[in-house]
């Protein structure tokens, strides 16, 4: 017998969905209309598409390949600092891209630490620019994500299976073949597809470490077509290709990943009896940790030294970035609560996919579209910050929905029938049933949105004028002007802002929330 399920946000949900899909479609239509008459791409554009696919493939492949032994070591070993290392694995996700690139340049750049060491022994310095630089930066961001996704797979294996294996005298090979390999076959394609999709829309990394005809992503090509050539038709056509490619990749990734990677449970080490040799596990963990910690340390050390050189314009930009982050958080909260409640109280459907447009649609495409729409009415530069904030909120929305919709589903599964039988008004359901469950994932989502928004270097690069730069853009300009010390100081300020905002929202969410 079919049960009548509790329906929430029957009106506000569709309105919020319209508020998400509407602006994206409007931008797409504006861009498409402008592209009329130019339906072919030049050789440079095809090179950008090829480069985008190749760098995404390599970034995803290296991230996942390196993550497997690191996740396996984390799953098998109990050691002091294990919990701190897992927390550190979350750091690159909220680290502003431009800050991370600065850290990588400090370590791997021509004047960086590695080159200095090589120079001291008479070897040539290394260069981080080009395909390998883009891939290294993407691996830096996505290796921790891959480790967390794959570690979740290991932790989902019931402890009893390892106990049964111990009683049956499985060696390491049998444990891998019978228990771990089947898990990896499920977890690895999802991790690979998600990282591939994320890298497809890479802009800031390609802007700083790529560029030139041989290392331009589609996103960077859109920016160049718009900013340097003012060729709206080409930008539009590239945007449509970007939407098609990234949309397919995002849909595949989210189909393959059934769980929210932000969920807890990673701190539970499962006792194992097949753990030899230990040194190899610790070598992998040491290398993975060093790859993360050394650039982060470089940012902090050079930032502290550069703080006195920071010009006043950096502080003005920091205020602009905080404004953008605040608007983003407010917009995200207004959109995600009704959407998550609406989706969570319905059977899974295509609606969930519509909200994923944020992951597939290029931020620069949306920015370009809105530039075209706004331009005849007002000077687009005057609304640069609100448009950036709104686009940032759309980018964070898919992640927020992945965290909140399951929480709504479980709250309704646990208490929905009781709430219906007591005929509770929706306001009471929201206050006493949903809110305690949603507060923690909402805090995490808002923290993520605030951190991503404060550190974003995307749409603002299209619209910016000298008076309205956000902190990431200001830092990029300082790097471009070779004011390395001032850029280092700005990087530290940006890092502190992103981490503080994330921690503030996350702590707010966890306080008094249901576990």
């Amino acid at each position: 017998m079919a049960q009548r399920a509790l329906q929430l946000s029957k009106w506000t949900g569709p309105i919020a969905l319209f508020a998400v899909v509407g602006p994206i479609l409007a931008a797409l239509i504006a861009v498409g209309a402008t592209a009329e008459g130019k339906l072919y791409l030049g050789p440079g554009d095809w090179a950008a598409i090829r480069f985008t696919l190749v760098q995404s493939f390599l970034s995803a492949a290296f991230s996942v390949a390196l993550a497997i032994p690191a996740a396996r070591a984390l799953a098998r070993r109990r050691f002091r600092g294990r919990s701190a290392l897992i927390t550190l694995m979350g750091a690159p996700f909220i680290l502003p891209v431009i800050v991370a690139v600065f850290g990588l340049l400090t370590v791997f750049g021509r004047a960086g630490w590695v080159s200095s060491i090589l120079g001291a022994v008479g070897l040539e310095p290394v260069s981080i620019y080009g395909l390998h630089g883009v891939v290294i930066a993407h691996v830096f961001f996505n290796l921790p994500l891959a480790v967390r996704l794959i570690l979740q797979g290991w932790n989902d294996i019931p402890a009893e299976r390892f106990r049964t294996a111990a009683l049956l005298d499985f060696g390491p090979n049998a444990v891998f073949r019978i228990i771990e390999w089947p898990m990896l076959r499920k977890a690895v394609p999802g991790a690979f597809a998600l990282i591939f999709a994320i890298c497809l829309t890479s802009f800031a990394v390609a802007l700083t470490l790529g560029g030139g005809p041989r290392a331009t992503t589609i996103e960077l090509a859109i920016y160049q077509a718009f900013r340097f050539d003012f060729d709206l038709g080409r930008a539009a056509l590239l945007s449509i290709y970007q939407l098609g490619i990234a949309g397919c990749a995002a849909a595949i990734a989210l189909l393959l990943i059934p769980l929210s990677f932000a969920e807890g449970g990673l701190n539970r080490p499962v006792q194992r009896w097949d753990t030899t040799p230990a040194w190899l596990d610790y070598v992998w963990l040491g290398l993975a940790s060093a790859f993360l910690i050394v650039p982060l340390s470089a940012i902090v050390l050079s930032g502290l030294a550069g703080l006195p050189d920071v010009p006043i314009s950096v502080w003005h930009s920091a205020t602009a970035s905080l404004y953008v982050a605040f608007i983003s958080v407010v917009v995200l909260m207004i959109l995600v609560l009704p959407l998550a409640a609406w989706m969570g109280s319905r059977k899974r459907s295509g609606i969930e996919a519509a909200s994923l447009l944020g992951l597939a649609a290029s931020p620069l495409m949306i920015g370009t579209g809105w530039f075209i729409l706004i331009n005849p009415v007002i000077d687009p530069q005057t609304v640069a910050l609100p448009v950036t904030a709104f686009v940032n909120a759309l980018m964070a929305l898919p992640f927020a929905i992945r965290m909140l919709a399951p929480a709504v589903r479980s709250a309704i599964a646990d208490h929905g029938q009781l709430a219906q039988s007591l005929n509770l008004p929706h306001v009471v359901i929201w206050r006493y049933v949903l809110w305690p469950r949603l507060r923690a994932p909402l805090g995490f989502s808002l923290g993520l949105a605030a951190a991503l928004s404060v550190g974003d270097l995307g749409v603002i690069a299209l619209f910016a004028d000298p008076d309205r730069a956000t902190l990431p853009l200001q830092m990029y300009r300082l790097m471009g002007a070779y004011r390395v010390d001032a850029a280092a100081g700005a990087a530290l300020i940006l890092l502190a802002l992103a981490f503080t905002l994330f921690l503030l929202f996350d702590r707010w969410g966890r306080a008094n929330a249901d576990s």
Partner: protein, 230 residues
């Protein structure tokens, strides 16, 4: 004979003491309130929980600190007894060889035990393609093949309905008749104790009391057991 001598297991603020023996071939059920340490006790015997003090011997061999694989023990848990990527036949074969490289005679033995537990025709199915009862049968078929002198059961049938649970307990009884193994089974259901046990170990207040005859204990429970049984 399984002997637990002056055993002490510590787990953060929790501790468990035990000092008793169970005879070879006997069937003993461990009961007690939630959190009393039933699974901890059985985990210590199996080698999954570290022992702080005392000694565990099985048929005269000290196994206190032995690796789980080096104890002559077979064990079933509530979940995770079968590997989902392997067929039922392969899961049972693990009882003979973890490498799954069986000779003709061994393969015949696997088919015999599968037939014995009523799983003929289901050999090539994976655990996800059969019922909970059939999964339990496959796990018991592996036990039958292992022929270990001590069988530990940690509430393996607690998620099953009454009829299926009864059927599984009957099958355990048959397996024990056939293998003459000693049984130590954790349960929270007194009916299981009535159905299968000769003796009962009651856990209370951090102590696993010495085994007492089931019939006698259930007929005249002491105050703590009476309070648990309700």
């Amino acid at each position: 004979m399984l002997t637990v001598k002056n055993l002490l297991v510590r787990h953060d603020t929790f501790s468990l003491r035990a000092d008793w023996s169970v005879q070879s071939g006997s069937r003993t059920v461990v009961i007690g309130p939630s959190g009393a340490g039933k699974s901890t006790l059985i985990g210590a015997v199996a080698g999954f929980v570290d022992v702080a003090q005392g000694q565990i011997t099985l048929d005269g061999t000290d196994i206190t600190h032995a690796n789980p694989a080096n104890r002559d023990i077979a064990m079933l848990f509530q979940d995770g007894n079968l590997f989902p990527a392997l067929t039922l036949e392969q899961n049972v074969s693990l009882g003979l060889r973890p490498s799954l490289k069986l000779n003709a005679e061994e393969r015949k033995r696997v088919h015999t035990v599968l037939n014995r537990v009523g799983l003929s025709g289901f050999e090539k199915r994976k655990p996800g393609q059969v019922s909970g009862g059939q999964q339990g049968r496959a796990a018991l078929a592996r036990i039958l093949l292992q022929r270990k002198p001590l069988l530990l059961l940690d509430e393996p049938f607690s998620a099953l309905g009454p009829a299926l649970r009864q059927e599984m307990l009957d099958l355990v009884n048959d397996v024990l008749d056939e293998t003459q193994a000693t049984l130590l089974m954790v349960t929270h259901n007194p009916d299981d104790a009535k159905h299968i046990a000769q003796d009962i170990i009651f856990l209370d207040d951090g102590v696993a009391h010495s085994p007492e005859p089931a019939e006698q204990l259930l007929a005249n429970p002491h105050p703590a057991l009476k309070s648990y049984l309700g």
